[in-house]
Structure formats: C-alpha cells, structure tokens
Amino acid sequence: MTALLEVADVRVRIAGSAILHGIGFEVPDTGVTALLGRNGVGKTTTVRAVLGLVPCTGRITLAGRDVTGWPTHRIVREGVGYAPEDRGVFTGLTVAENLALAERIPGDADYDTVFALFPELRARSAQRAGTLSGGQQQMVAVARTLLNRNRLVIADEPTKGLAPKVVGEVTDVLARIAERVPLLLVEQNLAVVRRLARHAVVLSAGRVVHTGPVAELVADQDRTRALLGVGGAP
Amino acid sequence: MATQTTTPPAVAWPRAGRLVRRCVGPAVVLVVAVLLPYGTLPVPLLLGGPLNSAGSLQLLATCLVFAGLAVGYDLLFGRLGLMSFGHGLYVAVGAYSAQLAMAHLDLPLLPAALLAAAAGTVLAAVLGAISLRANKTTALGGIGFAMVTLAFAQAGSVLVNTDPGGLTGGEEGLPLDADRVPGALVGVAHTAQLYWLALGYAVVCVAVVWWATSRPVGQVWQAIRDNEVRVDVLGLNPRRYQWGALVLAGGLGSAGGVVYLLVTGGATAQLTSTTFTLSLLVMVVLGGSGTRWGPIVGGLLYPLLDQRLTALAGTPAVQHLPAVLRVPISQPLVILGALFVLAVFVLKGGMVTLPARVRTWFRRRAGTSP
C-alpha cells in the first residue's frame, strides 16, 4: 500500500502563534483515513495546510509530487476534491451553478454518479443554495468532489451540525465514495469514524500523537477517551 | 569568600547607551536645526541658494510644517491603523479660522491661533466620533471609516469652494492679513523667525507624539492596530482610545494650519483637496509609517522634492529635453507618485529602513568570505 499523501514536519503559524508543531503522517491510496482529535487541536489547519490555503513549512507530497508551497488551485487540479468544514457552498448561486463551478474540465463531469447518489440535487437544480438545509448543502459540498476524477477526497467534519438521520445518509454516501477513491476524513463523530475509516491519525495540541488502525484504537476505550475525550463504547 | 553580586558593567552600559542614543540623536538634530539660519553654506541643488537665504528658509520652514503634520497623521495611520482621508480638513480649518478671526473678529495673532486650534480640535472630536461609528459597519470592513472621512473632507472642500458669504475666497483662498501679525513674523527679512516658528511647531508635534506613544496609552494604540477585538475583550474600549488619538491629531493638524498660514502667507482651497491629504499619506509611507523618524523624513522630503522638481522643470536644460522626459519632470506629482509606488514595492517600511538595509547588504557581502 503506497502513500498517496505524505505530510512531513509541517508547521503552521497564524498571527504569531504556532498552531502546528511538526505534523507528519501518511494517507494510503485506498480506504478511509480519519484525522481525529479534540476541538482546536489543529485538524482543520492541517487540512488547509495540505491544500495550500495557509502558509506552512515542511513537505507535502501528493502521489509522489512535492506540492509544498503550490497555490491551492494547482494542488486541487492534481486531483483533490475538498468538502470544507463550513461546506463552502456559494449561497448566492443555484445548486446547478455550484456544481458547474466545480467542473474542472467543462463538459467532462460525472453528473450521472452525482445524481445517482444525490437525486434530490437534480430536483433542486434551480434553487438558490442559500435556501437549502444544512444537510442539503452538505450534499452539494460532497457532490462537488465527485464531479471530477479525483485521486483523493478530503472531507472536513461532513456530519457536523446535521440531524442524526441526515448523518446516516451522508455516511452512506461517503462509504460509497470511499469504495472508489481514497478519503481523508476529519471527524469528531466516532460512530461515523468506526463505520468508514480503516486508518486513524490522532492529533493533540498541534502534534500527531497516535497513528494506527481504527479498529485497534476504538477497541481500547481508555486510550480513546484519553486522546479524543469521548467514550469508546459501541 | 562572598561572591560579588553587583551588576557587571557590561550589562549596565548597553542600557545607558540606548538611552543616550535615544536622546543624543534627536538633540543633535535639534541643535543643528536651530542653528541652520546662521549658516551661509550654499546648497545649490537641494535648496537653490545659500542656507540662510530667504528662499531656502521659506522652503525649509514649509518642510518643517509638513514634518509636524506628517507626524500627527502617522499617529492615526502608522500607530493606530486608521486610514483617514480627511486630515487636510483640520489643517484648512486651522488656516482659515485663524485668518478669519484676525480679519473679522479683530483678534491679534495669538488669540486667533488658539481659537483656530480649538476649533479644529472640537471639529475633530465631533467628526471623529461620527467616523468611528461608521467603522462598526462590518459589511464594509474597515473602510467605512475611510469613506466617511473622505466624505467629510469632500464636504469641507465644497464648502470652501462655494465661498459662502465671500468668507473663504473660493478657489483662490485667503491671503494672510499682515496687520494683525506681529512685525517679527512678516516680511522677507524675518524668514528666519518663521523658520524657527515652523521648527517649534515640528518639535512640539514630535515631542507630543513620541511622548504619547511611549506611555501606556501608546501600548493600547498599538494593540488596537494589531487586534481591535482582543483589546475589546480585555475590557478596554478601543473606540475611546481611537477617538482620543483623532482629537489629538486634529488639534495638532489645525495648529499646523495656523503655522502654514503664516509661513506661506495665505490659506488656499488646495488644503481641502484629496490630493493634499493623500500627499500626507505619501509622506508617511515614503518615510516609514509607524516609526519615530519615518514621518519626519517623509514630511521634510516631500515638499522639498516638490518645490525643487518644479524649479528644475523651469530650467532651460529641462525645457530642451524630448517630450518623453520633459513632461514627467514638469509635473512633480508624476515623479513623487511613481517614487511612492516604487517605495511600496521595493522599500517596504519606508526610507527609515535604508540604513538597516545597507548594513545588511554590506554584512552579507562581508559574510560570504570565511
């Protein structure tokens, strides 16, 4: 299993404070890798550093290419789909326009898969994204990652703030995506992580404190509680 | 055997050295500046005449007024991060009020000057409060403040240009009414006195601003510039501190207007123009905003370049240049504006960073040899 994404000694400073103190981990080219940790440890910052959205030092390698310091749009064009924490849906645009914007090669976008997974989006094509519910916006965010041939999909807390039923739906979709494309998943919801993820990378105070199989981590309740602050009971 | 615990001299001396450097430098500059009118050294290119000629002293006096104005402006821009486009308004208020007070209220110079400075300060208090309210409009980010100051300045400009009741003299402005001014400050023979007056003004501005920024209030100002929200959370009301700075700067500005009136012999509508306030911005950035000496350097340099370039443009040498070269030189603002743009790119931090940059360059050259 080769590493699709390698992150080495990444440090990030924001407004004078050090947020990441030398993050290093690998994302293999199959399966789902979960980036875990309590609130504020730097999970989102890590993802943003990988995508070039915040300046960082260190080295980031994507499919063998050193992409450190590249502008975001170039990294994304290497084949990275991104569903950010705040969904990043353009409220003034319609659903169709939000999707169209994400087409990297206009005309060569996989709308079949998108509408097969999210039939509701086809029905709401002309609706302004600002009037969608949280769950529907999340669907748009995830759908955008499916339109192009991506080597990696990064999803930052896709189930945050959603009703339990919707969480289940989103998890189903992510599971089906993960069958085809490796996924880097930032998640606080342990049930979702347990269902989807194979590998775990745990952060604490801007550092990686644990890496290993998810099954192992979840089985060890004490460790789970210590690292994530939540119980590991099934 | 007891060990000595006195502070070794090596530690005590650098601190004393810093204090000495902080005071000695400015003191030397001040002494030189005071003695300048006694010098007969000809300075052909920079001043177009000997040091103590009326023309040179007049020019230097103008430069000193602007140095003072720039220091006051930088209090807002460099120290507090407030971009005001209406500073020229207070200078104009100072100049016009003083002249009007002397001509229509029959006041002698000193009371008129005090009245003008007071008027400017009050206006700054009122307009400052209104402008700061606009800063809260998050839809516009921080530019709400800038836009309101621009609007007020424009209003002032319109008011002055429309010449209500013949008071402001419209586009032409008001000449200085020499009757009310003490003889010692009028006429070509007394340019040295005007020079010392301008120097006195600049010194007052510099002293006030340097003193204020070294006090705790200066720290709060710095903190507001860096992170207004954090200051708020700490329990200090940033608005009050910003307002205080606006009032102080407005007061200094209008006092500067009075000095300007005396030094240039009149108040013109140009003081209310956007170009005037923008030139203050150029002075401050060119010199180095947020530093002690930056605004002074910029304020001295700008009028000097402005006047000298204009003089240069009139010389036969330039008149005979091809149009491509002659035209930009004939308009000082072209060169000043271009220099400004260049400074933004190449000289981030202004001219005050030049000594350090030169030192680093030399050190790097020397450092390559083992």
Partner: protein, 292 residues
Amino acid sequence: MSTVVLLALTGLGVGALYYLVAAGLSLIFGLMDVVNFAHGALLTGGAYAAWWLAGRLARWGVGGFVLAVLFGAAVGLVLATVVETMLIRPLYQRRQGQLLVTVGLSLALPALATGIWGADPRTSTPPAGLGGTVRVLGAAVPADRFVLIGAAGVVVLALWLFLARTRYGLIVRAGVEDRAMVGALGIDVRRAFTLVFALGGALAGVGGALANLYYGEVDPGQGTSLLIFAFVVVVVGGMRPTTGVVLAAAVIGLVQQFADYYLASGLGDLSLVVVLAAVLLRPDRLVTRTTV
C-alpha cells in the same frame, strides 16, 4: 413641471455616469478586496483618448463619436490590465500595499495628463445630432442625457448577461462571496482578477468618454471628482454589482441635481455627504441581498 422633467432627466444622466464608474469599482472591491483609487485615472485616460479620436473623426458625426467611445473603453481596458498585472497582482498578499499603489497612481497619472495636455479644460464638441435638445413634456432636455442613460442601460444589461450567463461571470459571482473556496475548486482566481480589473477599466473609459459629452470639456481633475461620487454610490448601493448600485447611482444623481437647484448651487454635493453619512450610520440599511 418642465423644470422637474429637466432636473429628473439630468439627474438620471449624471447618475448613469456615476454608475459606469461605480460598477467597475464595486466589482473590483467585491472580488479583489481592493479599493481602487486609480479608477479615476482610468476614467481620465479614457476621456482624453476619446477626446483625441473624436477630434480627428469630427466629420464622421455620430459614428465617429461611437468609435471614440469605444476607443476610450479600449484605452481604459489596456491601462487597467497593465496596472493589474504589473502593480496589483505582485502585491497579492499585501492588501494595504495594493491600496497604496492605487493611491500613488491616482496622484501620478492625472499629473501626467496635466503635463501632456495642460491643466486647463479642453473643449469637447459634441457630434452633430447629439448636440441639440429633445422636447419632453414641455422641457428642452439636452440630447446627451439620453445618450448617457442609454449607454448605462446597455452596460447594465451586458453586465447582467456576463455575470449570469458566462463561466467567468459565474466565477466572479462566486469569488465575491468566497474567494478562497473558488481556488479550492481548482480555479485560478487571479485570472478573474485581471478580467474584472480590465472590465472596470473599460467601463471607466466609457464613462470618461461620455463625461466629455456631458460636460462639454475634458480636464485632468475630472476623474478624481467623479471618483468620489462613485465611492458614495458604491457605499450606498452595496459592495456587489447588483441592482443596488444602479438604484444608488440613480438616487444620488437625482438628489444632487434637485438639491443643486432648489437649495443652492454646490449644495448638491453637500447633500450627498449627508446621504452617505445617513447610510453609513444605519448599518441595517446597507445589506442588499438581491442577486444579479
């Protein structure tokens, strides 16, 4: 009654002029976060370019005038492109630096115009056919008002089509909302920046050319004074190039003309300051969430 008609149409005509400048400004600010002080200089560039060509094509009448306007737009566009690629783009990380550069240009470029053509206004003779007046409801309205209103109308439509129906328009609309996310979708926003800046320059150029018609003369300071009105329009109308800016421009033009006539000459400008202050101090009024 005829006075009111004349004032209203003049107000709308002037408003059209403000709109042309403000539309570009609001696009540039909305997408790039740059307060473009150099916009007035772009207008001046277009004005002098159009004046120069119109002088040479005087025999061609209205056709020549149209060509002159297009030429003004082209010059504005080229100037804006050069400024953006060489001076604004390299300062992408330094927002204040970008603003300062536009300030420097706003001082240097009009001075350059003064150096080339002199500070005095040069007369701009309207082409035959546009110099006369049109009778509307008993008022003799100069024809140039209609030209201005018509031109602004065309621009409003074209801008709407561009934003709503083209891919780059989509990028601009999204970028105004969330620039970073557009990049995260694999789009190089910087190209959109240059496009928007160039578009703003073209619009300013058209504005300059039409200002020649309205004022009957061209001078180096025109751009700066119009710029201030445009700022007021953008602030009042909302930072997005939506119907807000169109309405704001119309309102401000009308207010200015009526105040000038019924209060006192020159007070029209003062009343704008009052409008601006009133809007800025009532934050709830500002947000226009209408889409394009």
